[in-house]
Symmetry: C3
Subunit: 202 residues, 3 copies
Amino acid sequence: MPDSQHDLTDSAQPEGENKHDSLMDVAEPDDAFLLASEQEDSVAAPRRALIVIVTDHPGEQSDSTSQLVNELLAEANFRVDGAIVVRSKKSKIRQAIETAVVGGVDLVLTVGGTGVGPRDKTPEATRSVIDKMVPGVAQALRSSGQACGAVDACTSRGLSGVSGSTVVVNLAPSRAAVRDGMATLAPLVHHLIDQLQQSSVQ
Amino acid sequence: MPDSQHDLTDSAQPEGENKHDSLMDVAEPDDAFLLASEQEDSVAAPRRALIVIVTDHPGEQSDSTSQLVNELLAEANFRVDGAIVVRSKKSKIRQAIETAVVGGVDLVLTVGGTGVGPRDKTPEATRSVIDKMVPGVAQALRSSGQACGAVDACTSRGLSGVSGSTVVVNLAPSRAAVRDGMATLAPLVHHLIDQLQQSSVQ
Amino acid sequence: MPDSQHDLTDSAQPEGENKHDSLMDVAEPDDAFLLASEQEDSVAAPRRALIVIVTDHPGEQSDSTSQLVNELLAEANFRVDGAIVVRSKKSKIRQAIETAVVGGVDLVLTVGGTGVGPRDKTPEATRSVIDKMVPGVAQALRSSGQACGAVDACTSRGLSGVSGSTVVVNLAPSRAAVRDGMATLAPLVHHLIDQLQQSSVQ
């Protein structure tokens, strides 16, 4: 004699398929449902991202930053193609972003080079690649950076926009700027990628 | 307590007009007061607004959006000259804004075409009409859009500025963006119109 | 009171250097400490600022604004070189800013001329002087102006950026805009000056 309720239900099943149907009311899924479900999956699938670390002193700190961005991107449902470390030269930064755009990633995230020093060239390099500026993302990073005390984020000259079908965003380099910035930008960037994918489908 | 005191004062009034005068110290308004009062009224009079709905699929939804904007503009003390529905072509949007500017409306409000898709042309069309950019209005729309979860408002490429003596503002198309946006922009736009009217008077 | 205490300490010193030492537990600073202390002092030392009041009607109000900005700058650890009152002409405003930049001040703060009227020329004049725009400061002024009800601050066309090694920021003219603006910009501007001083040292 089975004890558990689950077993009881199972043993009751043979009595008549009608009873099971009336309880669960589940029919075989039709083709339209399967297609919709598949599309839902494709939207929820991870997007591809590339990290570009801009620094004149590659080493422990840039490795640590790269790892942090990597983790936060994964949490935000991005699959990270890789992290490139480039010197703070306009041509090098531009080249790294362009290669990623041509490679078809959904998001290029740069870290560093957004200040007002003579070696800070990331916004200039990014400007030359972006087709359409989307100022709201960069400003959201500045506002929330100010709220959380990441003063390098608030004074960042970083840009955000679209190049081809790729979203490009500049982050300030402090760990606070990266942590706060990732939380702020993730839903906005996903919305932009949604728009870009819809318009290419329709 | 204040109410009862008010009632007392009122009931005391029949006793003698002199007393009332001594309490309120109100003389016949002189010409200067009447003029000032008239000017105050002219400031409080409704301003003229025109709605430009940008869409490639005119129909029920654009009618519904148009009606919503109409109602919210009326609540914000604007008299709506009309709502024009135009296709998302740069020349068409530009022409609609320019006609309204020449017609002397105080505010042109466009709705839609502010995203990053290939058919989104509203910011480009608006840019070509605006004389002076006023970035604070567009950014206030993005910030409050982010706060209220209108992600299309937060990532909007919409602009705000002045063309001639007309304020021009781009709104994102979702109902949330329109509702929240109207609440945000009304006091700012009225302030801008105040400035434009003062400077043309002085 | 602080003075008298200072005098007491001074008068106590002759009694015996040992007693002073035992109370304060101060050893002779070594060279490294002196160097660090000197560097710390140089960072904590007041930065130099210049105020540019833009108005077509110099008088009591501009004097009062000038005094308010002066006090708030002093509270924010700036030493004010002076306040210049200029007419709202692009060439005059530009000249005032450029003279201050050449003179090596750390911050030029303009007040007024940021609206949309035909006489408002401060942003245009500032644009022609700035090498690198830092949009976050100007936007922080707009956001907090909106929050505190300084509508002229929220709709301000004011800019912020760096010219040479000088930070330049435009403020809207109302007292609310000045008060709130100073509280908002002080930490951001100090951070920018830190960056500019570091990069010129390294």
